[in-house]
Symmetry: C2
Subunit: 240 residues, 2 copies
């Protein structure tokens, strides 16, 4: 808690900066908009019993086999060898994912999630579940770190924009003494009227658009398409 008696709200723009933040006394929101945390909330919203995030393809295969889960993950824009599904939220409609376990390997998001393991609580956020995330954070009255998964540690546009959108919605309830948070919010405010066009400049947009994933990108940037709260407990994400 800070002098204002409000909890703090900070933005960590890259996993390589996480050591500068007091993870142990904060709720950490893992943000990997394109597309891990968009897909996670979508699978849970559509009734998946849980999502198990793992770092490697090998781990994904082994856990999937052991528990009979659906293995998913991409490397360089393609379904990784040995896995069955990809990273697109559209691969997980209710008729497919309900009551099943999704074992998902992603590079950037999973890495950050494991780095934040000592947090008071870990949740995941993206535009499709922004309202659930914001309501939860306001209700907890605890310090919050919005943790951008970034791209191989490089700051990226989509995660920064989502962090800024959250700051914009909930800042009155927090003490925002963090330039990254102020900058992210200003960036979001200046682009929110046409966030999709703004995103077209971004490096990851161009990377994904090569694979024809404009529909995914639109969905991942649109609020509340899968408005559920993924809570991390004992190595699993479950709907809160």
């Amino acid at each position: 808690m800070t002098e204002s008696n409000k909890p703090s709200l900070e933005v960590c723009l890259s996993p390589a900066l996480l050591h500068l933040f007091d993870v142990k006394s904060s709720i950490v929101v893992i943000i990997d908009v394109l597309r891990a945390t968009s897909t996670i909330c979508t699978a849970l919203y559509n009734g998946a019993s849980r999502v198990i995030p793992v770092a490697s393809v090998e781990e994904c295969v082994n856990i999937g086999r052991a528990i009979g889960g659906i293995t998913a993950g991409e490397r360089d824009g393609k379904i990784a060898e040995g896995l069955v599904h990809g990273n697109s939220p559209f691969e997980y409609p209710r008729e497919f994912i309900e009551n099943k376990t999704l074992v998902l390997t992603t590079t950037n998001g999973t890495k950050l999630l494991h780095m934040a393991k000592d947090a008071v609580q870990i949740i995941t956020g993206s535009f499709p579940n922004i309202s659930a995330v914001c309501e939860y954070l306001v209700a907890q009255k605890q310090n919050v770190i919005l943790g951008c998964a970034a791209w191989k540690d490089r700051v990226n546009m989509e995660d920064t924009l989502f962090a800024g959108a959250v700051v914009n919605r909930i800042k009155e309830h927090f003490d925002v003494n963090c330039d990254s948070a102020i900058a992210a919010e200003a960036l979001y405010t200046s682009s929110k009227d046409d966030i999709y066009t703004f995103m077209k400049q971004a490096s990851h947009y161009q990377r994904l658009a090569k694979y024809g994933l404009e529909k995914d990108i639109h969905y991942c940037l649109t609020p509340d398409g899968a408005n559920v709260l993924p809570l991390f407990r004992d190595g699993e994400l479950i709907a809160g």
Copy 2:
């Protein structure tokens, strides 16, 4: 060089991210707007023969004694013990600094400068010399990294804004495939009409304003008050 045949222009928001960039094949601009790189260009503009940036107070004292230079540096907003002058650009008018050597110790800026030592060329930039910096970068036709000194590795507003201002001025001459650069530019564009008011939200503004340094901050955010190019050569910054 990238596919477009233009050199690349990237922004590194914190020294803790510098390892992600190809320093060896780039010109690196050290940015420490409040106040190291504002003071450096001011001293050189006012005729200082050179500025020697050093990491520690002890080194500052020793070098100052050895060469008869003016020792300067602050810790926690006060002139450091053993040194004679502070970090304010207003301490270095022509009648005082002309033909003298300034030995300056700063925490954030000096650290980044030494981290970037393998760069093709190191220069320093801030609003008071933004035009000189931009003209130089365009003329060189080489890859550029705008390196924000930040605050103890945490991303800060003023250095990000300056990086964004440079991107805004020179981007046509470069390939800007870097989300930090696009974000910094958007931040600058959205705040440039009243950059001083915008800066009042920032953490460092509040830190410095406590010491009554609003005049310094105004100067450091105003373009071209000391429009000279500090070039780093053999451990010294000289006017280019």
